[in-house]
């Protein structure tokens, strides 16, 4: 049972012996505060996974949603930020620990319409570890409407956890669509510039218009055939025509969400106009729902569709990866550059998803998880700079390595992850994707691999311009990253390195499960 501490206005100030701190600034600046929370999270997560006493998945997967429901009650007498952080950490610890259960790869878990296996567990774990991070990053950057804001963030965490664990396609679709409503409000109401409204609107229109393509298929499955449960779909013998049509229609909204060029136009706008933590949420978690849908539903249910559409989809993925990387090179806004880098990485993911090999699928999943941490960290880093200097234009910066060295180190690690440097998660994921696709077509492998070079160009250029050279006029009055900012960036940088180390273990752990995704649906 999660115990919520009662936070008095000067409680945190008293904790560090600094009378006079306001509660508002106190908990944001307090080392004790966030180390205590994060330490508790690590202890719990490590403890339960080490001992093997993981919480029942049926409880753990509902924990984030329950946290979102408890929040409005808990926040009535307490500061919004700490309450949200406690709740997200508690729920994240439960869900994350359940996702680390070593038996999942072998047996999986399914009950009550929820499933947790080696396909969904990485995404659940990503959600469990990034949602508290988003709350943490918001402590210093969200200054108005905090109570409502944290409510939306917790709700998104709850919806995402369920989204990554439901086994009914119709329910997944409803959750997938429901994710757009809080995000629409978060971008439209909390963005720093007036253009946020148009960006929110564009985000909503793109995602909703794309999602409409799935409806005819769902009506056919639910009313015509009787169920949209993936276990039943994968053993049902749809005709080849049905599989091709259904796969093609269902791929549209998920390609928009991934996003794939030319359906990507909403993403840079949404990222640029959203507040930093919301960008982290968007890049780190929401984009992954599109890729996850392919692995969980489309490929097992309509394998012939994947086979038929595979070459065209792979070509689209290659084009998307290369075009977005080229776009990233010419951007002058840092956030827009990282947004295009995300599109490029997700293009590589798309190629892995449709590559038709288990290793490609594993690589796509692994790259999405690694990208979740890397992109969230990079957006957090850009947010740190924007909070201080109120610009995201690259040429306004320079020489930050001298004035913010700690921040520079963390940003460098994240940049390495972004350019898929060895020993980072990006490298492990891309290596798996390229290896998997190479079994099918070496030309595609070479073409997708070219994005690594373009990624190197924009990543190094960005880091070089911002951190090296003479100190730009605007950055002479500086402030090193605060403890909370170090925590956020350190968390992401740490996971970027850890995911680079455990790629091989993931391949061995999940091979059987992903093999079943590709071949379990073929009758006989």
């Amino acid at each position: 049972m999660l115990a919520l501490p009662r936070v008095s206005p000067d409680g945190f100030a008293a904790a560090v012996g600094r009378p006079g701190w306001s509660a508002r600034r106190g908990y944001r600046q307090n080392y004790f505060f966030w180390w205590f929370h994060l330490g508790w999270f690590f202890l719990f997560l490590g403890g339960v996974t080490h001992t093997g006493v993981t919480p029942p998945a049926g409880v753990a997967l509902w924990a984030p949603a329950a946290a979102a429901l408890v929040y409005p009650v808990a926040v009535r007498t307490r500061p919004a930020g700490p309450v949200a952080l406690w709740l997200s950490l508690g729920a994240g610890a439960l869900a994350g620990a359940a996702a680390l259960d070593p038996d999942l790869a072998r047996t999986g878990w399914a009950a009550g319409g929820l499933t947790l296996d080696a396909v969904g567990a990485p995404y659940v774990f990503l959600t469990a570890t990034v949602t508290p991070l988003v709350v943490l990053a918001s402590l210093e950057s969200v200054r108005r409407g905090e109570r409502v804001y944290y409510g939306w963030v917790l709700l998104l965490g709850g919806l995402l956890t369920l989204c990554f664990s439901v086994s009914n396609f119709l329910v997944f679709y409803v959750l997938f669509e429901a994710l757009g409503f809080p995000m629409f409000l978060l971008v439209g109401q909390y963005g720093p510039r007036p253009q946020r409204v148009a960006a929110a609107y564009k985000f909503f229109v793109y995602t909703f218009a794309g999602a409409a393509a799935v409806l005819p298929v769902l009506v056919y499955l639910q009313f015509g055939w009787g169920t949209a449960e993936v276990g039943a779909l994968r053993v049902h013998q749809f005709t080849e025509y049905e599989q091709v049509v259904f796969f093609g229609l269902c791929a549209v909204p998920f390609a928009v969400k991934v996003p794939l060029v030319p359906f990507h136009l909403w993403l840079p706008e949404a990222h640029v106009e959203a507040p930093t933590p919301v960008s982290m949420l968007l890049a780190g978690l929401l984009l992954k729902t599109g890729g996850y849908a392919f692995v969980r539903f489309l490929l097992p249910a309509f394998p012939a569709g994947g086979y038929t559409w595979g070459p065209a989809a792979a070509a689209a993925g290659v084009f998307s990866a290369l075009a977005a990387a080229a776009y990233a090179v010419v951007q002058v806004d840092m956030k827009r550059m990282i947004a295009y880098a995300s599109v490029s990485h997700m293009g590589v993911v798309f190629v892995g998803l449709l590559g038709g090999t288990p290793l490609g699928l594993q690589g796509a999943t692994y790259l999405m998880v690694a990208h979740g941490y890397t992109s969230a960290g990079l957006f957090a880093g850009i947010g740190v700079l924007y909070d201080r200097y109120h610009t995201r234009v690259v040429r306004r910066y320079g020489g930050l390595a001298g004035v913010m060295p700690g921040f520079g180190v963390l940003f460098f690690v994240l940049t390495l992850g972004n350019l898929s440097f060895p020993l980072t998660g990006g490298f492990a994921g891309e290596f798996m994707v390229l290896s998997g696709v190479a079994h099918r077509n070496f030309g595609v492998t070479l073409a997708v691999g070219a994005t690594v070079f373009v990624g190197l160009v924009y990543s190094v250029w960005l880091f070089n311009r911002v951190f090296y050279g003479g100190v730009a006029a605007g950055v002479r009055t500086h402030q090193e990253a605060t403890p909370v900012e170090v925590g956020v960036l350190g968390w992401c940088a740490g996971w970027t390195l850890l995911t680079g180390w455990f790629g091989g273990a993931f391949v061995g752990y999940s091979h059987g499960c992903y093999l079943g995704v590709l071949h379990g649906g073929i009758p006989g």
Binding site: V148, Y173, V174, E177, A178, F181, F184, L185, G188, Q189, P194, R196, V197, A200, Y201, F204, V205, F208, A209, A212, A213, L215, P216, L218, V219, Y220, Q222, F223, G224, V245, L249
Partner: protein, 449 residues
């Protein structure tokens, strides 16, 4: 009219008196009247349902319905539930009236319009049908042009009157022709023996419901209306039209079903395209009526034998959703105008109310409107995947402009001071009560399936 239905009308009248005469200061009486009207409506819906359920459970032909068109599935909802929907919408229109101080004539004229509409449920005679429809139409003309110094409103009312009168004339001509051909004024015999006459009647109803190609009048008339009258004309006074259409379209559609199919599709397209360019919620709802009218025509053609479940359910969801938007905006927004430009900050204090109402009407997932859309798609599935895909594709445009509606309320900038009602304000509480009534009705209807 049964004693129960008379009681319902009395309850509704009491509610309307309270709404028009004693606005929020006498909130207790008003709230009591609302609940009385709701209870009466529930009883009436139940009574009517029982009557029709008797037809369906018997499995035998009713004198007026030998093909079983009116009969629902055994134990399931039937056309009679539309009366419940009608009365519920009537109550919601009263809530919308509370946002302003309408003159007392509104009470008499509005109640007359709804009462006349309810009588069309009970009649099987063309003469009385004509009289009730005309009484309803005359009441609506009067409401539309009630403020004679409002130029825009008078203009809309005159157009409404002229075009409506033309259609009434044609309707009378059609009935006379039918009498000459068939020698009877019985509606059922008319629809059974005279497809041409039935088509005539269908065309007339399509005009009154604002369906393509007769949708031109509704945006012009709806745009200048105040919240209360807008709620009345887009809600309670439309239910009986869909009921009538259901009764006549089967016979009329048999030889020329493809023509109505095209009408349905064209109405969806015309409403979707036209609605995108509107800047006023009244005209937006006019085009929304064309879109949803198209859906309902397709539903009528696609599921003639399901006892009217799909049509009834979608009618309830669509009209209830429309009223939820109008009532929500009238209650939570402190402006009397329906232009988007004056909406900024409507969602500042109660963002979810506006957001919910708009997205629900857009048929987005999680909201009841999504369930309505699924039922709609299920109902038109017999037309094949192409029609299904077309309808789904065209449903995107209305959803987009409903989201724009929410955006106007949530994100617009204005220096206007906002004075939203307190959460326990009687208006808000009554809206919650009416919504709860609608939810109970919906769950009840679904439980019967």
């Amino acid at each position: 009219m049964t004693p129960l239905e008379a009681g319902v009308l009395g309850g509704g009248l009491l509610f309307f008196v309270a709404a028009v005469g004693w606005t929020p200061p006498v909130g207790t009486l008003w709230l009591g009247a609302t609940l009385a009207a709701l209870a009466g409506a529930a009883l009436a819906g139940g009574a009517a349902n029982a009557t029709l359920a008797g037809w369906s459970t018997a499995g035998a032909a009713h004198p007026a319905d030998p093909v079983g068109y009116l009969a629902g599935p055994v134990g399931g909802p039937a056309w009679g539930d539309l009366k419940f929907v009608c009365l519920l919408l009537f109550a919601l229109a009263g809530v919308a009236y509370l946002a302003g101080r309408p003159p007392a004539e509104t009470l008499v004229v509005g109640t007359t319009a709804v009462a006349a509409g309810l009588l069309t449920f009970a009649t099987d005679n063309l003469v009385s049908l004509y009289l009730t429809l005309e009484l309803q139409a005359l009441s609506l003309y009067t409401l539309a042009g009630l403020y004679k110094f409002d130029e825009e409103r008078t203009d809309g009312a005159v157009r409404y009157l002229l075009s409506g009168s033309l259609v009434s004339g044609f309707m009378l001509l059609g009935f006379a022709r039918g009498y000459g051909a068939n020698g009877t004024f019985q509606l059922f015999e008319f629809t059974r023996d005279d497809p041409v006459g039935s088509a005539w009647l269908v065309g007339m109803i399509l005009f009154k419901a604002g369906v393509f190609p007769f949708h031109f009048w509704s945006p012009v008339v709806y745009a200048p209306l105040e919240w209360g009258t807008l709620a009345l004309v887009v809600g309670a006074t439309k239910v009986n039209l869909w009921y009538l259409l259901g009764r006549t379209v089967a016979a009329a559609a048999a030889p020329v079903w493809w023509a109505l199919w095209w009408v349905g599709l064209a109405s969806v397209v015309a409403g979707s395209v036209g609605g995108y360019f509107q800047t006023n919620v009244g005209s937006l709802l006019g085009y929304s009526g064309a879109v949803n009218g198209g859906y309902l025509v397709l539903l009528l053609l696609g599921t003639p034998r399901d006892g009217g479940f799909a049509l009834g359910y979608y009618t309830g969801v669509y009209l209830g959703g429309t009223l939820a938007l109008v009532v929500g905006l009238s209650v939570f927004g402190d402006t009397q105008t329906t232009w988007f430009t004056t909406w900024s900050k409507l969602g500042v204090t109660y963002p979810l109310a506006v957001y919910y109402a708009a997205l629900n009407l857009g048929g987005l997932p999680v909201f009841p409107g999504f369930a309505g859309k699924l039922v709609l798609l299920w109902g038109i599935a017999p037309f094949g995947l192409a029609t299904l895909a077309f309808v789904v594709g065209s449903s995107v445009a209305p959803a987009v402009y409903y989201v724009a509606t929410a955006g106007a309320a949530l994100f617009g900038y204005t220096d206007r001071e906002v004075n939203p009602p307190h959460p326990v304000h009687p208006v808000a509480a009554a809206t919650a009560a009416v919504t709860a009534g609608a939810a109970v009705g919906t769950v009840g209807a679904l439980a019967g399936v």
